[in-house]
């Protein structure tokens, strides 16, 4: 399978603290990866580096076999816009925009025509069961619905990979189940997903579990 993201010997120091220690990791197309570890193990930092939101202190990052130059901010923004979709613990939806407009935001940035962006956003929202709530503002939606809107936003540019940082961390069990089912279905459709979680049972539902402890990969287990 084709490698989508690869990191080689990456280290990350934050305020003299060694957060990530010599990490090597390769993400292949179609994988559903669960990164798990205790608080402070560096899992979110690793995810931010994989998502090109942060840069390693040293080491190399490759996206589709091309080394990333972290000084080329324009290129990094373009990759984040077109190839990655992000979901966070908090939905980070823009309150001034409707659900539909929030989903359109990454598409408008990438130059998709407004009418096309509207069609795609409506399709994505319908797919996630929010067809009737597309004109609602974020504060008019429940927590689970807000998170589903943020997943629809992550899907808007049909990304190579979805990067999710504790996507169920703020949800009740019912909505957690809904979100996990969405991820599983997306993965079945071929979407690559990297999810950070601290809940082992959620990680168990992925195909590959990477356990981090004190900034080091302790285990990298693939289910057959």
């Amino acid at each position: 399978m084709m490698e989508i993201i690869k990191v080689e010997n990456i280290n990350k120091f934050i305020a003299n603290e060694h957060i990530l220690k010599n990490i090597n990791l390769s993400v292949k197309r179609g994988e559903f990866i669960g990164i798990i570890g205790p608080s402070g193990s560096g899992k979110s930092t690793l995810l931010y580096i994989l998502g090109l939101l942060d840069q390693p202190t040293d080491g190399k990052v490759f996206v589709e076999n091309q080394e990333i130059n972290f000084k080329d901010k324009k290129r990094i923004s373009e990759i984040r816009n077109k190839k990655f979709g992000f979901v966070f613990q908090f939905h980070y939806l823009i309150n001034e925009l409707t659900a539909l407009e929030n989903v359109m935001v990454p598409m408008l940035k990438s130059g998709v025509e407004k009418s096309v962006a509207v069609d795609i956003a409506i399709k994505n929202l319908k797919k996630l069961g929010l067809g009737k709530k597309q004109y609602r503002r974020p504060y008019e939606l429940s927590g689970g619905e807000q998170q589903r809107v943020s997943i629809a936003r992550a899907l808007s540019n049909n990304p190579l990979v979805i990067i999710a940082d504790e996507p169920t961390g703020n949800l009740d069990s019912k909505n957690t189940e809904i979100v996990m089912e969405i991820f599983e279905n997306l993965n079945k459709e071929g979407k690559t997903i990297i999810m950070v979680t601290h809940e082992i049972d959620l990680a168990e539902r992925t195909q590959r579990i990477i356990k981090l402890k004190d900034g080091e990969i302790m285990e990298d287990v693939k289910k057959i």
């Binding site: 939101l53 901010k73 980070y92």
Partner: protein, 417 residues
């Protein structure tokens, strides 16, 4: 660009009240600029136009004598304060001997439209028991017409009567009012400094709108005044009308060099006023500048507040690929939108106030007299207003926008947003 405008407008519309206050602030600044500039320049232009029309473009006189303190300053510099006791003014006649030759010489100059002789003196006018002093100017009406626009300011256009009737006189409108004369045909007694008196008939009024002139000016036939002052065939001033008023200083220097007489351009004659206008302009523009600065701070506040409250939104926008310059544009556009709508409101308000001011028919009495306010309604003030409002809006919104662009999304996500 659509995605930037889309987000800028959405952010702005959500803060209706603050946005409106900021727009209104800019509007007030723009309106103040338009109205103040048109009022101030209207008055100044009117004054200068009248001054150019009334007072010769160039005046030729005898050389002013070097007074003793000036001589001391030549030797000791400007830093001394000379005190001269017992100095007596020199007894020398201010006579231009070869004035006919000068008139003839410069009448053929293509840059000069006309030259006219003046005999200028002081006198006392008496009407009944009322006495008022006036500046007497003996003129040749035919030459005067070529060298000035005197006809424009003579109420009943009866300048020629001065030629036909040597006992006729034209006096300033306010001087007449001070004497108690409200209609022509009245007789006044004129006393000149040498003690001669003569009875004159007021045949017309001089009404320039410039208070100082209308309160003092007296026109009479040149020959009559020469006789009264016992200065036959003498003049003490020549006035020149030139094609291009902006060339007055250069031509004045040239005439002075060629004739050896002292010359004065209209700019020099009115230098105190022109200097005063400059100071007035500085003060007015400083006030307007202060208003615009306050408006700019309003914009700065609203954008800065938006940036502080929108940290999470900025973080997610950057995460989904918005670049630093796009974040700057989103927030700077908000400033531009405020500036633009502020300008529209300001321009409408300014235009309305101009309309209202020009419709007022009140008596304005001061340096000039007019019915209502004199406005210079140049489109340029609207153009400048637009440039200023946009400049201040962009300036005020740029720093908060720049700060927004430098936010690191990871910092926001780590802090839990």
């Amino acid at each position: 660009m659509y995605h930037i405008l889309f987000l800028a407008l959405k952010f702005l519309v959500e803060r209706k009240r603050q946005t409106f206050v900021s727009i209104f602030g800019v509007g007030i600044g723009v309106a103040a600029f338009i109205v103040m500039a048109s009022l101030m320049n209207g008055f100044q232009k009117y004054f200068v136009e009248q001054a150019i029309d009334l007072n010769a473009h160039i005046t030729l006189k005898t050389k002013p004598e070097d007074i003793p303190d000036r001589i001391l300053k030549i030797y000791f510099g400007d830093k001394i304060i000379p005190v001269i006791l017992g100095s007596k003014p020199p007894e020398k006649k201010d006579k231009i001997t070869d004035y006919k030759f000068i008139i003839e010489k410069y009448s053929n100059n293509p840059d000069i439209l006309g030259v006219a002789p003046h005999l200028v003196s002081q006198g006392i006018l008496k009407y009944g028991t009322v006495e008022k002093s006036g500046s007497l100017i003996g003129i040749d009406p035919n030459l005067e017409r070529k060298a000035s626009v005197i006809d424009k300011f003579i109420e009943n256009k009866r300048l020629d009567v001065l030629l036909a009737d040597e006992n006729s006189i034209i006096i300033g409108k306010l001087l007449a009012k001070d004497l108690g004369i409200y209609e022509t045909g009245k007789k006044v007694i004129l006393t000149t400094p040498n003690g001669n008196t003569h009875l004159f008939k007021v045949v017309d009024f001089f009404n320039s709108g410039i208070t100082n002139l209308d309160q003092t000016r007296v026109y009479l036939n040149l020959r009559t005044l020469q006789t009264m002052l016992q200065r036959p065939n003498e003049v003490n001033e020549l006035i020149f009308k030139i094609k291009d008023v902006n060339k007055a200083e250069r031509l004045a220097r040239l005439i002075s060099q060629e004739t050896g007489y002292y010359t004065e351009s209209w700019q020099f004659a009115y230098k105190n006023f022109l200097q005063l206008f400059k100071i007035q302009n500085y003060i007015t523009y400083m006030i307007v500048f202060a208003i615009l600065i306050v408006s700019a701070f309003g914009i700065f506040n609203i954008i800065m507040m938006t940036v502080m409250e929108k940290k999470k939104d900025i973080a997610i926008l950057k995460t989904v690929g918005y670049e630093d310059d796009e974040i700057i544009k989103i927030f700077t556009f908000q400033g531009v939108i405020i500036g633009f709508f502020g300008y529209i409101i300001g321009a409408i308000l300014g235009y309305s106030i101009q309309e209202w001011l020009s419709s007022l028919k009140i008596d304005v009495e001061g340096l000039i007299r007019a019915k209502g306010f004199i406005l210079d309604r140049s489109i340029l003030y609207f153009v400048y207003g637009f440039v200023f409002s946009m400049f201040f809006s962009i300036l005020a919104s740029f720093y908060p926008s720049y700060k927004a662009s430098k936010l690191n999304p990871v910092d926001i996500f780590r802090s839990g947003g």
